[in-house]
Subunit: 784 residues, 2 copies
């Protein structure tokens, strides 16, 4: 459901009540002077769309007040300390709540996913693994098989063998998947339209200063948590990692309401949201440092050092909360725990870079295809049937995925298996090597000798490779049409799965190449027979990083997340080589990552902080009014009557007006908000005696004595912002854009030789940049 909010900017529409605030917001936004920062003057109203800078200034006033008071009494001192602590307390609460929710989501998703396959007879609330823990009849080798856990075929037909049983299981798998998907999409549509998608594009937009009301509200949180579990369990090609960032931000936003300091100050709340983004990744991967860098690199707009410390603290708390909940049952902090034994060799950088190129190509292709598909959804009738779409995609995914064991299992499980280094006792098909000397060893446990050394691939492994190749093609296709549907959907896991499959394939290939060519020039010296020289699991990991890097264009945070998974500095170089290559290759096909692409698709007012503005226009070319427009509506500091002011305000829809010395000189005095003006005039008419339509409105400090018969003037200096930001008309646009970004402005007045000439808003800049996009010379991607 799309609403064109004027100006050709599309916003995803919300439920009736939300739509109103949204359109209200839009009208605000489309005014050239909306959201003027609120200063410190008396009688000033708080603007909800205020900028970081004045938000900070307000906070400072509050500090000063508290600090002054704290000298007066001990109670006030305690208040001062508690105020100081409240930031840390809030971080603690965000960490605890996000960690707990993430743990709950993990447990529930695990349970529901297993429910698609069968039921625990001891208690339906046990998942497959827990069910068999209670059993005494399992062996270590077949710890997944126990009589308590029965597949649907066993429950219904009494047997787990044969075509009928397979068919029943297949059918039940599909039925459950469709049920979960239906429930998810219905809940999203009915209660919280904002709960769909990954949420990261919107959070980036919110952190850049835009407000989407209800996007981080309690309903979004509740519905997103529930539907995330359902969507993940339905077997769709999506992950829970991106949405966890949204969940953590919702937690933070809701918890902000507990503290006056954060409830009232948008700028401080955005700092908390930046930290919450770090918390989200921290619980998603068990990587607190990586989470902080993710927030810094990918999500945040304004990231002061204070936020760095606090995000780190919150990310740690969340990671430890999650660990104490222990959803994976292995008391590991990280999602994929990997331990590699063999070092890598310099020659291997070649295949690692190849994986980087693959990742970059896949990233660029995925973004193009996904955006094209989303455009089709927007512009055709497809967009009108989101429920049908979700059900069809779920059915398709289920039908194609079930026959292949690598697509049937969950994405995280698949990646975990692909990252895994084959150990002696491994029963996985991927470790189906021939023991040197003889028979295939696909279900294993046998060899003790040189089990870890390099081995020729056996039948089991070849079968696995074919399945993996099919899984790769399937995942690549289905992810394109899945991301962007009206269910919560993350991209991390599907992207990583694609990369991990490709990496594992290449890794096994390299391994076999090395096995059969020990004596060739390349392998001689570091790959002697009987030694384990190539680790296919490492290739899978590098491939996963490369593909995720290609899609999101993260680099450092991605490498750090992967580093936290292995804990070995040794593997940083392969990861770095692959992610950098991936970023360069992908950037060559388009500078936008998937999140920026979705931001642009949805038309959010987001000023990309990374991209450099390349055009050589001047501010005069971008500002309004344009040459053909009517002149700028201004107030003079004296000489206008209340009636004239009211007429001016009513004839325009701007939310603020510059105040000048006189219509002739046009020398800028300040800036006054529409709302303040209306409220002040209204109050004055009600309370102040003698203020009538013919009263003069005076913005100066000392007004001339009024004529004897004139009504008393209305003094409004208090509501004028006397320090509006200005640039000259000759300022190059790249400097103006930089000022907007760094100071977080929403608009800026333009002067020429001290005379007010016009106004330039963030929206003007965005439009100008969009127009400019086609014409400007493309920068080489390596430049960044």
């Amino acid at each position: 459901m799309q609403v064109d909010a004027g100006d050709g900017v599309l916003f995803r529409s919300a439920s009736a009540s939300e739509r109103q605030t949204f359109s209200e917001l839009n009208s605000n936004q489309s005014n050239p002077s909306a959201g003027r920062r609120s200063g410190a003057g008396p009688g000033r109203l708080v603007d909800p769309l205020e900028d970081p800078l004045p938000g900070k200034s307000k906070d400072r006033d509050r500090h000063r007040e508290i600090a002054n008071k704290s000298r007066q009494s001990t109670v006030a001192l305690l208040h001062s300390v508690s105020d100081a602590f409240s930031g840390w307390l809030l971080m603690l609460l965000v960490g605890l709540m996000s960690g707990a929710l993430a743990g709950g989501i993990d447990i529930a998703a695990h349970w529901l996913t297993d429910m698609k396959e069968g039921l625990c007879l001891v208690g339906f609330w046990f998942n497959h693994e827990h069910c068999c823990w209670t059993s005494n009849e399992t062996t270590f080798q077949e710890r997944d098989r126990c009589p308590q856990w029965q597949s649907w075929a066993e429950i219904m037909t009494g047997t787990s063998e044969g075509a009928l049983a397979y068919f029943v299981n297949y059918l039940m798998f599909l039925v459950w998947a469709l049920l979960f998907a239906l429930l998810a999409v219905t809940l999203v549509r009915a209660f919280a339209p904002y709960a769909c998608g990954s949420g990261i594009p919107e959070i980036k937009t919110i952190l850049s200063g835009f407000i989407i009301r209800g996007y981080l509200g309690k309903w979004t949180l509740i519905i997103k948590t529930i539907t995330l579990v359902l969507a993940v369990s339905s077997g769709l090609s999506l992950g829970k990692e991106g949405p966890l960032v949204h969940v953590a931000c919702c937690c933070a936003n809701i918890l902000c309401h507990l503290f006056t300091k954060y409830r009232k100050n948008e700028a401080k709340r955005r700092e908390v949201l930046s930290a919450a983004a770090a918390v989200g990744v921290s619980v998603a991967f068990g990587a607190p440092i990586g989470g902080v860098l993710f927030s810094l690199e990918e999500v945040s707009y304004y990231f002061p050092l204070k936020t760095l410390w606090r995000s780190f603290f919150a990310a740690l708390v969340a990671a430890f909360t999650l660990r104490s909940i222990n959803p994976f049952g292995n008391s590991r902090l990280v999602l994929f725990y990997v331990e590699f034994h063999a070092p890598w060799h310099l020659v291997e950088l070649g295949p690692f870079i190849l994986l980087g190129i693959f990742g970059g190509l896949w990233g660029a292709l995925f973004i193009r295809a996904n955006i094209a598909w989303c455009r089709i959804r927007k512009s055709t009738r497809l967009g009108h049937y989101p429920v049908t779409e979700v059900l069809v995609v779920t059915a398709l995914t289920g039908m194609l995925a079930y026959p292949n064991s690598y697509t049937r299992m969950g994405g995280a499980e698949l990646i975990s298996e692909l990252f895994n280094d084959c150990s002696l006792l491994d029963s996985s098909q991927l470790c189906g090597y021939k023991q040197v000397g003889g028979a295939s060893n696909s279900t294993s446990g046998a060899g003790v000798g040189n089990g870890l050394a390099d081995r020729p691939a056996g039948v089991g492994l070849y079968a696995a490779l074919w399945q993996l190749a099919l899984a790769l093609v399937f995942k690549m296709m289905i992810t394109v049409i899945t991301f962007g549907m009206k269910v919560p959907s993350g991209l991390f896991i599907p992207s990583m799965a694609v990369g991990a499959i490709a990496g594992r394939l290449l890794g096994v290939g390299m391994e076999q190449l090395a096995y059969y060519n020990h004596d060739s020039a390349i392998f001689r010296g570091w790959c002697s027979p009987g030694a384990d020289c190539i680790t296919p699991g490492l290739y899978a990991m590098v491939g996963a990083a490369a593909c995720l890097g290609g899609v999101t264009r993260m680099t450092v945070s991605l490498v750090v997340i992967m580093f936290e998974l292995t804990g070995g500095l040794e593997y940083i170089v392969p990861l770095m080589a692959a992610t950098m290559t991936s970023k360069w290759v992908a950037d060559a096909f388009g500078r936008e990552g998937i999140y920026e692409a979705h931001i642009r698709l949805n038309g959010y007012p987001f000023l990309e902080p990374k991209e450099e503005f390349q055009h050589s226009s001047l501010t005069a070319d971008v500002m309004r009014p344009r040459r053909s427009d009517p002149p700028l509506a201004v107030l003079t500091q004296e000489g206008m009557t209340v009636e004239e002011v009211e007429a001016l305000v009513e004839s325009t829809h701007y939310s603020g007006f510059p105040v000048v010395v006189s219509q002739d000189s046009h020398r800028l005095v300040g800036f006054v908000l529409r709302r303040d003006l209306l409220i002040s005039i209204d109050n004055a008419r009600k309370r102040q005696e003698g203020v009538v339509g013919a009263s003069q409105v005076v913005f100066t400090e000392h007004s001339p004595a009024p004529a004897d018969d004139a009504p008393p003037p209305l003094r409004l200096r208090g509501i004028v912002d006397l320090s509006p930001f200005t640039v000259t008309d000759h300022t190059p646009m790249d400097i103006t854009v930089d000022i907007f970004r760094k100071l977080g402005l929403r608009q800026c007045l333009v002067t020429h030789n001290g005379k007010l000439l016009g106004i330039i808003t963030k929206k003007d800049i965005l439009k100008h940049m969009a127009n400019d996009c086609q014409q400007r010379p493309r920068l080489h991607p390596l430049q960044l």
Copy 2:
């Protein structure tokens, strides 16, 4: 040697040739309008003190040009690609060079340190360890003793036993130490005065936009590298980690000259320097991620994402270069490799926080004491005898340090030993536990049974504890007078040593407490007999982090560096708790870290980006001219003659002048640099026919036709910066300070109602903040 450069600001003076550029710089700096950013106008000169913003703009012009050209020919395309690659190539070179230098410094320092004790008979160029590698007569237990390595006593007196031998060794130790110290301080004084100290305060200042010519030059690099080795070997209580940051920055600065892109653009060069700071820490500790965060948290002023990626890349390259040089001979990447086996228990957070408090107190105390000592050095005659000072302190250090084995060994070695967890085969005195059941086990190898379990302390351990306590007192005292002497000196290792000693003492104490009170309420449940429940090495590590945190006020980067040393996420929580406590405690006694304190001590123009400006003054209170001052010197856009302009320029020392419409209206047109003005007039007089003293100077675009008899006007619009930054006189100072910080301004014009009122410079702000410091209400330290 101090030179008062006017305004009461003290700068360390340089050698004759450097002094000139320095004073030139100072005069530049003390002008209210020095260093005006250079715009894109024709005929504009490049200002060496330009701001990041216009530096960026210049870079963009260059990009555009290259991108446009690249369409024309393949050669130009190649040029474009190589231009794009040059940034990465530069990073690669910085990493390689810094890694190689760090490796060289490590090897040389190791060798010279061992030379104080004895000589390798096989070849004097072997250090103790290498010497014994060549020997076949060493056992694993006594791998440090071999006949090839002889102490000075053995060489001179033929015996290593007895009082005489001890005395000879003691004497030789002192003689070598004094020799090294003398050489170091002489070299520093003779060739590169900037090579002394840690360099981090100066690099912070340079990164904030100030230029200290020669500070990062090749002489500084050469001399600092050599004297760093000498200073470390002399046994003084200093580390090489801080100076390595300086060395890496020198490398970066020198390598910048290879690339036009970086040679000509100060702003881009500063980005490279930020990355180099990361490289420095990366090679110092083998912690690339920690290095990047150190640069971000502690050193850098402007840290865009591009710098993040590049620093990470450079830090990795450097770490791997260092590893392939393998100076520690153990192919470990990290300086202190630690592996702990036992987890920590929640109860232990108590002692960890205690260590944090100790670290904070020590940090605050150290900063006060060190700054007081440095002031004494500056203000008394002590400062005139730097060589004597260094020699006296070296002698004192040597005499007191030699008898105690823990102070005799190098700082890094000491820390390494303190961090170490006692293993079965450990021969260290610190592991002198009694085997349960019997005899002291100080030289060991015996027990196999529960050797790792908890044990009562033996005689060896008690002796070690006393020595450690003495070492703690000694280190605390001597470090205060050592840091700030005229030799290269880092603070990281001495601070960490103090903390590690304190931590180990507490750790052993806790361990014994647990051993003798297994059944008390505190230890019951997690500390059963026979289990290794407390790791004294972890306490040492936490203590080291706390003390370093107290001195430098780092938090996240410190924790990450420590995390990289252990690779275990488990120990992040104790480290975090200790560093946070330490920061809070230290902040309660003074907000400045040691580097900020030294910046203030030396009077560098540095606008602290972390601290919030707390005063409620307006820009009008801070700007110049003050009420009592003569009016601002301005140019009018027309009507002034060449003679009048020259008179104005000569009568003032400002390096730039605002251009206004007329003296009456004072409406601001732009800003023109003194230098541009002088050069243009000079050129015009030489070349342009008819320009004489009476010619009109015209800054407008279209000048009125001159009278028939008047000489032709001199048109100078090209040199006017038409987009000067302005604020109004009513802008609160906190917002102005924020604008200065975020846009990296050096000055800003102040207007009132469109009329030019005055000018405000970075220096005005710094002065105002300094005056303000005493009066303003103190903020609670937890606030940050």
